[in-house]
């Protein structure tokens, strides 16, 4: 099986987010960047499928700045075979141009499966996977937390409100990974050494500008401090009174 995994370079989930001087993007100084956590599930799934099939190829594709080579190397260290960086210094807030760049790269690659994360934890669009599928005319299941492959297709399960949706699909397909799909492996030292020698092609992404303009980026409005209505169970009537008559939510 030939599998592509699209990965994004994102600020670590524990990074402190500070708005930059222009008020339109984050201040990247001192921010640690990582492989998007949901993409780790996608990489892991690709590796498992290749191992189970006994043969195949796992190609990592990323749209991002020069520094995203490091992100691709992380996936190569986990065990992927080759990488492609579609270089773009600025990736905008509209997910469609990114999806188009990825689809353009994947179109003639002969892939059986394209895996992505369900969302990037920076802009949280939850969009690039289904968009890539539409652009490539491939079947797609997003936010899969369970995947079973069979002859020429498979079955995926995705969590929805109050239940689990079971979806049957045929190959080639685009699947986006949710937490629970698997336990991503850590790159071993040997993997890290080998990754340095694996092929990584760099070319220009030629991103379209997209139809979304940033007006500003701001820290969230502070919640105004509330009050302690009392101590222990005896404070319950005062709380109910406040919820009913002050907040009007009961």
């Amino acid at each position: 099986m030939k599998i592509a995994v699209c990965v994004k370079r994102v600020p670590d989930s524990e990074a402190r987010i500070k708005v930059g001087a222009d008020g339109k993007a984050i201040d990247e100084a001192g921010v640690k960047f990582v492989l998007n956590p949901y993409d780790e599930y996608a990489v892991e799934e690709a590796l498992k499928l290749k191992e189970a099939g006994g043969s195949g190829e796992v190609v990592i594709v990323c749209v991002g700045p020069e520094a995203a080579q490091e992100t691709i190397r992380t996936a190569l260290a986990m065990g992927a075979d080759t990488g492609v960086l579609l270089k773009a210094d600025k990736v905008g807030l509209d997910p469609l141009p990114v999806a188009k760049a990825l689809a353009g790269e994947l179109k003639d690659g002969g892939y059986d499966l394209v895996l992505l994360g369900k969302m990037a934890i920076d802009d949280s669009s939850h969009a690039v996977g289904p968009m890539v599928a539409e652009l490539l005319g491939m079947q797609c299941v997003s936010a899969a937390a369970h995947l079973e492959m069979g002859e020429g297709g498979g079955k995926a399960e995705r969590e929805i409100e109050g239940g689990v949706e079971v979806v049957e699909f045929g190959l080639p397909a685009v699947i986006t990974a949710d937490k629970g799909l698997n336990e991503p492996r850590y790159p071993a030292l040997r993997g890290i050494m080998m990754a340095k020698k694996k092929p990584l092609e760099v070319k220009d992404a030629a991103l379209e500008s997209g139809g979304i303009e940033v007006v500003n980026l701001a820290p969230p409005a502070e919640r105004k401090a509330g009050r302690i209505v009392g101590e222990g169970a005896d404070a319950v009537p005062a709380l109910i009174e406040a919820l009913r008559n002050e907040a009007k939510v009961l």
């Binding site: 109050g162 979304i212 009392g230």
Partner: protein
């Protein structure tokens, strides 16, 4: 005159609350633009979209077929894109649910138009302007859309449904090609109708490690039942296996915007707070007066949850009966 279309969501033939939220947002944006608000309903044969006019739709397009009872992504996307593309709409508003998060980007890709995901507000200010929380709630983008139409998905509970009576007319929606090979949704497993989803509920009662064990979550369930809310959980208790991941609130769980959020025995770690920032009223019960949760709570009780919560449940029940 440019209008706005809301793509509604149903389950088992009944429109969900998020549908009225999307419609309310569509009505307000249409009013600002001086255009009409339309609605698109995709669902089983005989689906009743009767009260859609009550929430401000001037026109309702209906695609009703038993093959569309469950979310069939390919067909839903074909229908929705054809409908959104059929008129001069400024925007299509889709609820940012599990269904909408899959459907909305497909519509944008088919129509080659801009997309803004999981917004908490949509308005008109020389164009369509949205607010989008990003970095797990650590910052908010204000974005302006520069092309039409655009697709936005709206976070559940971000907009309160408001009635706005219109004489909605029903019309036939665009159709999908039925013979395409496509992925097929077979079923919804474990549909637990009693349990509401934390992301959609207007009241959430969440419990943390202060509960001490899985069995004690009965206290949380009882309070949730008394207030008609959903059960939520901190990551600590999900990792401990006391509750399922589907209930986790926070940066790596769900982001919630209920009217009322109870944090019971939850310390208020930054990653938990990221998920409740847009809750309207937060109540905290914690025995530690210095717990960070009290810094964001509107109302707090310092005390032992094992004493406070049963009393709270009992008095809320009594108040409701009385």
């Amino acid at each position: 005159m440019a209008g706005v279309i809301a793509v509604l969501e149903q389950r088992d033939g009944t429109l969900k609350r998020v549908s009225y939220e999307a419609l309310t947002a569509a009505r307000a944006l249409a009013d600002a633009l001086g255009g009409e608000a339309h609605a698109l309903v995709i669902g089983p044969a005989g689906i009743d979209a009767g009260d859609v006019g009550t929430y401000g739709a001037d026109k309702v397009f209906v695609a009703a077929d038993d093959a569309l009872t469950l979310y069939q992504a390919d067909q839903y996307a074909q229908i929705a894109a054809a409908q959104v593309g059929s008129d001069d709409y400024a925007a299509a508003i889709v609820p940012a649910t599990a269904l909408g998060k899959d459907l909305a980007p497909r519509i944008a890709a088919k129509l080659d138009c801009p997309f803004a995901s999981d917004v908490t507000s949509v308005r008109h200010d020389g164009g369509v302007v949205v607010t989008r929380p990003v970095y797990a709630g650590k910052a908010d983008y204000t974005l302006k859309v520069t092309a039409t139409p655009c697709v936005v998905s709206l976070r559940p509970n971000a907009v309160m449904p408001v009635e706005a009576k219109r004489d909605a007319t029903d019309e036939q929606a665009a159709a999908a090609e039925s013979d395409r090979t496509a992925a097929k949704t077979l079923e919804i497993k474990q549909p637990d109708r009693a349990a509401q989803d934390v992301a959609e509920a207007s009241v959430v009662v969440a419990g943390g490690r202060g509960l001490r064990d899985a069995e004690s979550f009965k206290l949380i369930e009882d309070l949730a039942e008394a207030v008609g809310g959903a059960v939520g959980a901190s990551r600590a208790v999900v990792d401990a296996g006391w509750r399922s991941h589907s209930e986790q609130v926070g940066q790596t769980g769900k982001v919630v915007s209920p009217n009322l959020y109870f944090a019971i025995g939850i310390s208020g770690a930054i990653q938990h707070l990221a998920g409740i920032r847009t809750a309207k009223t937060i109540v905290a019960v914690n025995k530690d007066p210095d717990a960070p949760i009290f810094k964001v709570a509107d109302y707090g009780i310092v005390g032992d949850l094992f004493e406070v919560v049963p009393r709270l449940t009992q008095e809320i029940k009594q108040a409701k009966e009385g």
